[in-house]
């Protein structure tokens, strides 16, 4: 089975309840709980994966060693991890920000594609301008494209009561169909015969790599976006309002908050982050829009957001971790001759265990005020 269809399947998994409304730092035991439970979950998933490796006749210790080496073992392999992590940071925000409102948004892939398409169109329109202008215009177009895409989902939810999870999932298919239509028709470069694509962004207008490594600017954008998201959600009155809506919509309405307006803004911001991911794919990797834009980063982003419990800073860490796991998938095939789906089994185990671990919050006395 392909990676994408697997990722799609995982989105059908039961969804965890909205995280409790905890003000950060108020209770160190609570913070400790928020750190230790996900770490514990990942360790359990590692052990289960060890059992899987054993059942496949591979030495689990050797596999873990190889994963570590291929993901974090040297600067060379860490670059691979960072390249993989960059789009995940951005797409994760598309689930994480609306999650604070109590919405389960899984339209990340669609927002990425919409952002990538908008960025391509805008970039091609201003391709004669200096690079910095091209990048700025592409970035803004990507944000608007992705942002509006998720805002549509928000509008359907707030104005018409349409379930946001279903509609955002379906919007992914619409975005991909739109992409295929545009690159086969109006945006098609006639020279792209057997892989229909848009006209290319000129080489010298592409986003460069960082410090002559293989890592591109997407990483910087990802980290900045996550930090902004964290500050916005945890340390501003806007974030407090959003968390209040997520905690209790009625109470928020009673307090006079403009629930749907705040909700739509948050949807826009989430979509905009995924839109940047699409812009980076076009401006730093592919140089044009084509079917390769829908590579499954959006679906992987959902996983990241849930593991990071929808918090900005943990998203950076979790993306790096997951990026490392994905980057090490190859060595399992090349060195251990394990099937190509092995790394997806690992990803699936992590997702299930993390979802399950959500039910453990508040179950341990030790994390409670005055607990033993």
């Amino acid at each position: 089975m392909s990676q994408i269809s697997n990722a799609k399947a995982s989105t059908l998994a039961p969804v965890a309840p909205t995280p409790p409304l905890a003000s950060a730092g108020a209770n160190w035991r609570g913070s400790l709980e928020a750190v230790l439970i996900p770490i514990g979950a990942i360790i359990v998933a590692l052990l289960l994966f060890g059992v899987f490796c054993f059942s496949q006749g591979a030495n689990a210790g050797g596999v873990f060693g190889a994963i570590y080496k291929a993901a974090f073992g040297s600067w060379y392999s860490f670059q691979n991890t960072l390249v993989r992590a960059a789009p995940l940071m951005l797409t994760a925000l598309c689930t994480a920000l609306p999650a604070r409102l109590g919405l389960v948004m899984i339209g990340n892939e669609g927002a990425l594609v919409a952002g990538g398409l908008a960025a391509t169109a805008a970039g091609l329109a201003v391709q004669a301008a200096p690079p910095v202008v091209v990048w700025t215009v592409m970035m803004l177009a990507g944000m608007v494209g992705g942002g509006l895409w998720i805002t549509i989902v928000g509008l359907l939810y707030y104005k018409r009561g349409v379930n946001e999870t279903i509609s955002s999932l379906l919007m992914n298919y619409i975005a991909i169909a739109l992409l295929n239509h545009l690159v086969n028709g109006p945006m098609r470069d006639p020279a792209s015969l057997n892989k229909p694509s848009s006209y290319p962004i000129p080489d010298q207008k592409m986003l460069p790599v960082l410090w002559s490594s293989n890592v591109h600017y997407g990483l910087i954008f990802g980290i900045i976006a996550c930090v902004i998201a964290w500050v916005l959600m945890e340390h501003t009155t806007f974030g407090f309002k959003i968390r209040m809506i997520g905690g209790n919509v009625r109470a928020a309405k009673m307090a006079g908050l403009a629930v749907s307006r705040l909700g739509l803004i948050t949807c826009f911001l989430g979509g905009a982050a995924a839109g940047i991911a699409g812009m980076v794919e076009v401006a730093a990797v592919h140089g044009r829009a084509n079917e390769s834009l829908a590579a499954g980063y959006g679906y992987a982003g959902i996983l990241v957001a849930f593991i990071a419990r929808h918090r900005g800073l943990p998203i950076i860490l979790v993306s790096t971790l997951l990026g490392g796991l994905l980057a090490s998938g190859g060595i399992l095939q090349r060195q251990f001759k394990m099937p190509d789906a092995t790394i997806l089994v690992f990803e699936g185990l992590v997702f299930l265990v993390v979802l399950f671990s959500d039910s453990l919050y508040g179950k341990f006395k030790i994390f409670k005020e005055g607990g033993a």
């Binding site: 210790g61 060693g65 080496k69 993989r84 015969l193 892989k195 229909p196 390769s292 499954g296 060195q335």
Partner: protein, 371 residues
């Protein structure tokens, strides 16, 4: 504590093993193969994986493989890993979409490594000297499938399930139709485009709906013909395979099929590399193409349902391909809207560039390139 120590030791051992392999690479030819899907898809990727298995029969070839590698930075990473960690001297990234920008980018970074891409996109002067491409004229084998299908059909209705209306796919649809109509001039081929390379659900739906409309021979051009072969067999109709041998999935209804013969192509390359030849020195040609005659493609063995007259016509067509006298696309030829596309007396040979940008469907095909 115990586990930690074990991990540390095995990691250290793995590290040493890696260093040892890169030393070995000097007297062996290490070839890296990258596939976009799984190795056992009964289709495009399996055909290449069989090619890799074939070339590894040479004792001095070491093959490293990675399957299900997306057409993103993932494939750049895999190419670099194969070069840096496995010591690959030649890389075969087999999916069409790997070429631009991924192969081009990595090839510039590693000018001493040779990159051979399946698809024939190399342009001299535009692309790096260490890049080359190879492809097979599989429409020849598909034409032979068409001949057999034309004999097998009772309803005169054939079905073709295709991924996208791009030149490579249209060429196969047209070759299949021309083959079928050479045996049965009234035969029609209903085509359905699914829109993407791997859409098992849509492919099954398309197969079912074609069979319900009276189609009694199916074939396809998608990455994995698996569900189409299985659906045809279950419904008791005939089917022609594509990419790899699918007779196991349809033991009763399998007629024949167009298959790639990458073992031969990869073995040729391995021998050239061992002899010290290279793309950079110009001793390995940058563009390599071939059909049945050159052994790049082959036809599956006939299934039990193929009768003697079909075999006779199919063998005759094959023989003409083998001696080079066969031309699939020649005038007078009309498209399925009645417009003349090749005037009488004009012939397009397999290597003619006009065929590479094919945008039409020949008379006898029911369907449109506008999906």
């Amino acid at each position: 504590m115990k586990i930690n120590r074990r991990i540390f030791l095995t990691a250290a051992a793995a590290l040493t093993a890696l260093q040892v392999t890169s030393l070995y690479a000097a007297d062996k030819v290490t070839m890296g193969f990258i596939y976009v899907g799984p190795k056992d898809d009964y289709g495009y990727n399996q055909a290449h994986a069989e090619g890799c298995a074939g070339v590894q029969k040479l004792s001095w070839v070491k093959g490293v493989e990675e399957a299900s590698v997306a057409e993103t930075t993932a494939v750049q990473e895999t190419m670099r890993n194969m070069i840096n960690l496995d010591g690959a001297q030649v890389i075969f990234p087999t999916s069409f979409g790997y070429f631009d920008p991924h192969i081009l980018k990595v090839a510039k970074q590693y000018p001493k490594v040779q990159f051979l891409h399946c698809g024939g996109m190399y342009t001299e002067g535009k692309h790096p000297a260490n890049v080359g491409s190879y492809f097979g004229y599989i429409d020849e084998a598909v034409y032979v499938s068409g001949v057999v299908a034309g004999h097998a059909t009772k309803s005169g209705k054939l079905g073709f399930i295709a991924a996208k209306p791009i030149p490579q796919v249209l060429r196969n649809i047209n070759a299949f139709t021309l083959g079928a109509r050479s045996a049965n001039p009234k035969a029609t081929v209903q085509v359905i485009f699914t829109g993407d390379w791997s859409m098992p659900v849509k492919e099954a739906e398309a197969a079912t709906s074609l069979i319900n409309q009276g189609v009694d021979v199916l074939t396809c051009h998608v990455d994995s013909p698996k569900v189409i072969l299985e659906t045809a067999e279950r419904r008791g109709i005939y089917v022609c395979g594509y990419h790899a041998d699918g007779s196991k999935l349809a033991p009763k209804g399998y007629l024949t099929g167009g298959e790639w013969n990458w073992s031969k192509v990869y073995t040729d390359y391995a021998e050239k590399v061992k002899a010290g030849k290279s793309l950079m020195a110009g001793t390995i040609p940058h563009l390599v193409r071939g059909g049945l005659k050159e052994g790049f493609v082959k036809c599956s063995n006939y299934g039990p349902a193929v009768d003697e007259s079909a075999k006779k016509d199919a063998e005759a067509a094959k023989a003409k391909f083998m001696d080079g006298t066969m031309v699939i696309f020649k005038g007078p030829l009309k498209d399925n809207a009645g417009k003349e596309i090749i005037p009488s007396g004009k012939e397009y040979k397999q290597q003619d560039l006009e065929l590479e940008s094919m945008g039409w469907l020949v008379e006898g095909v029911l369907g449109s390139t506008k999906s």
